[in-house]
């Protein structure tokens, strides 16, 4: 077991999988010579060579489309979109090709491929280096969308994603990259895709979150326990699609109150689906209306610190909302 931050856990896992299986190739902008703008693939070019570590032209649709071709012909491509904000040109490939290759061929073709993308705010990324894209792709059957929030989950879920016979959109919250540290086993292990995780046990209410918001919830929950004696259970969604309704509902049934926290624009965000699921399937176990915290419905967060803070949730605002819900 070694303590690592999220970006190191991802680097080490990807490295280990490339050593273990020569079908794994990585491609994307600045990933070879530069080693990735976040250094996820640092040193890979020297070790694995240019047939497996590919600096692509600046064309996201092409990156995903080329990865599709590789996956169709025996490779296990792990494509990097430099920032999730830049995946939009690849939307056609993701929706028209990646998500439905298996479906449209009636199971004849599959696409064992991973698209990695750093997402989320809190790093002065402004409008085009801060976006949340999980709801956009969570809406598309055929693509699995994962949002690990800890070094352990990032490592185990990346390995699971590479081994998955279906395409996985692997979203890495860039604020967590160096902020969040934790123990990661030195031996290969997998964390299953499609399973949420109770990161903190509690009785009074359930907070449901992922990515950076998970850590805000954990911080707020610890504070409320200490200052108010309120016991908050925190569920880490981990996989946006397919959503683990069972774990979420079991927690909400236990506590009777649910707060969904997400960074994306509130309207039609992934939290909306979670809130709807709770309302549909656990209404008579609820002691309060389902509560939701999401970003404001403006196009994206601003560059100025004040504007970024006004967009993002933080431990204070989350704690306030938790307290309000606990006292309902």
């Amino acid at each position: 077991v070694t303590e690592k931050n999220v970006v190191t856990a991802i680097h080490d896992t990807l490295h280990a999988e490339m050593v273990a299986d020569d079908r794994v190739v990585v491609l994307g902008e600045d990933i070879a010579t530069r080693g990735g703008v976040f250094r996820v693939t640092q040193g890979f070019l020297d070790e694995f060579g240019e047939q497996r570590v590919i600096d692509t032209p600046l064309a996201e649709g092409g990156i995903v489309g080329i990865a599709v071709g590789m996956a169709l012909h025996g490779l296990l491509p792990v494509a990097e979109i430099e920032f999730a904000d830049f995946i939009h040109p690849a939307y056609d490939q993701m929706v028209s090709e990646v998500s439905r290759m298996r479906y449209r061929s009636n199971g004849d073709f599959g696409l064992p491929m991973v698209v990695r993308a750093p997402w989320g705010g809190g790093v002065h990324g402004a409008l085009y280096h801060s976006q949340s894209i999980e709801a956009t792709y969570g809406h598309i059957p055929g693509i699995k969308v994962v949002v690990p929030g800890t070094p352990y989950d990032a490592s185990g879920m990346l390995r699971a994603a590479i081994k998955d016979p279906d395409p996985v959109l692997f979203l890495e919250h860039k604020r967590t990259y160096r902020l969040i540290k934790g123990d990661v086993p030195d031996e290969p292990f997998e964390v299953p895709i499609g399973k949420a995780d109770v990161k903190r046990e509690g009785d009074d209410l359930t907070a449901i979150a992922y990515g950076l918001a998970l850590h805000l919830c954990l911080e707020a929950a610890a504070r409320l326990e200490e200052e108010e004696g309120i016991s908050v259970e925190v569920v880490d969604v981990r996989t946006i699609s397919p959503l683990d309704k069972q774990t979420i509902l079991a927690s909400v049934v236990k506590t009777g109150k649910a707060l969904v926290v997400y960074e994306d624009n509130r309207t039609y965000g992934a939290g909306a689906e979670i809130a709807a699921t709770i309302a549909e399937e656990a209404l008579f176990d609820l002691d309060a209306p389902v509560a939701r915290m999401g970003g404001p419905d403006v196009p994206a967060m601003g560059f100025a610190t004040s504007l970024e803070h006004a967009f993002m949730p933080n431990a204070d605002t989350v704690a306030d909302r938790m307290l309000e819900l606990a006292r309902f």
Partner: protein, 316 residues
Amino acid sequence: MYRTMVTARLIDEASFRLNRQGKAPFVVPVSGHEGCQVGTGWPLRPRQDIWVPYYRDVVIVLLAGMTPYEIFLGLFAKADDPSSGGRQMPSHWGSRRLGIISHSSPIATQVPHAAGIAWAARYRGEDAVVGCWFGEGATSEGGWHEGMNFAGIHKLPVVFVCENNRYAISVAQPLQMAIENVADRAPGYGFPGVVVDGNDVLACYAAMRTAVERARAGEGPTLIEAKTYRYFPHTSDDDDRSYRTREEVEAAKHDDSIARFAETLKDRGVMDAAAIDAVWAETKADVDGQIDQAWNAADPEPSSLERHVYFEGDGA
């Protein structure tokens, strides 16, 4: 070669007949393109090379090994349709067994796939060459540029074939691009572009053979532009009278690749008129015989709608 062209033409004629009878809701015709398809498909090796076609490529999939029966299963959207089990519109080809890559309706999305497959084939040490077909309208799409560019940078073993029939549904070539020849775009990607008469089977064959040899030798891609014409509307749902005169269409039919190739075969003493007539008669009987068989095949089970969204285990 000739028999394959005739097969495609007769499949087309039968498909439109079935469309008028209400048995085939949607038909994508090939007629007019048989010559450029048979010429550019012939140098590839079935089940060894990879076929990345688009929806007009009836001859291409016949060369890859799909049978008329299987094509009619697709036309009737039957459960055993090898391309999609009746999920996709007809002429959206695919068969892993035959190395025909499944494609969608959006245009040119398959071009980066062809480049990625070629990368994988070379990485795996195979000598496979990828053939990738599209119309001239596809060359306006960003995905076309991205696939061509990547293939050129890395000298990948792929041949791009543009079946230029001068119309993308209704939009004529002068409104699609400012240049006369699509092939002129190839030097911008660092590989040769070749213009051929798409109705001259042997010219198409020669251009493709050279391109395939070049690709297999590691010298990189070629863009072949085959100038041709489609005789029917874009699909059975299109009305081409709104954008093409009947005179133009009739004039184009005087340069039919099938008729031209028949003359070549007669001139060179390969086949006489009787043998050519026999090909038509035999093929018609063969194609028509496969229609009924396909028509009587089972429809997809409604409950199968939810299958194959994700992997269901080996052999599923």
